[in-house]
Symmetry: C2
Subunit: 163 residues, 2 copies
Amino acid sequence: MPKDTFSYESIGMIRTPFKSPDGMPIQPVGADTTEGIVKIDSSYADGLADLGGFSHCILLYHFHASGDDAPLSVKPFLDNERRGVFSTRAPQRPNPIGLSVVSVESIEGRELTVGGIDVVDGTPLLDIKPFVPEFDVPSETETGWMDASESTIRSEQADERFL
Amino acid sequence: MPKDTFSYESIGMIRTPFKSPDGMPIQPVGADTTEGIVKIDSSYADGLADLGGFSHCILLYHFHASGDDAPLSVKPFLDNERRGVFSTRAPQRPNPIGLSVVSVESIEGRELTVGGIDVVDGTPLLDIKPFVPEFDVPSETETGWMDASESTIRSEQADERFL
């Protein structure tokens, strides 16, 4: 099939305490206490209206620190086997779009303060969506190879594997 | 701040029974019984390995049927007030990237059959991620203006508002 190409523009930047992927929590649940500031480009600030009523939102962003390599199998943090990239959350992917569910702490002008952030400082923002359990949470789930307990994920941190 | 531009390539196509947004369920939970087939471009098929162990995955795709208009406030299906676009799931967004949580029904070669699909037939696929409750489900949530019961969402269908 013909491949279409889509061009997206950064709509802002995510500021966090993590200057590099090394030592960063691997997912939001492991970063509960970490706040970040999502700075929206001023031309999009009006789009933040009404987001304050939601406890959580979904950030979509570009994995800017993951390099250009995108193998179809990767060795994830939580495993020692190589796994198909689409069964992992590795930043190295054919289209390096990242997704994090974070808490909405406050909104002031074009700055959205979020909690539980797990991205590298300076990450370019692509989209913000409200998190809606009725849309986003299936009733029963299984997690295949991952089979990771929440406590394991909380204690895991990034290493050089995803640099 | 300077705006960066990112270029992503379609990695496949989502085939569904919905030939247009009209009459389509507005979110996966309203489309429980609808199956779709995600056809991955053959060059990416190996990336599907290990996804079969997960009950659900997250599809990221390009809203190809939403037009070029991207107002910063929209009138969503579930409300009669205009709302900031980042507090809605409207397809018309600064970067028209869509997100759906769907069930993984089966994988055969480069075809992934999913359940609970809510996108228009022919939607270009950008990414597939495993759905992991420990990453993706906050413990307590509030949904602001939406305040929609699951039963309401199940009964709602798209109308011309998002065409």
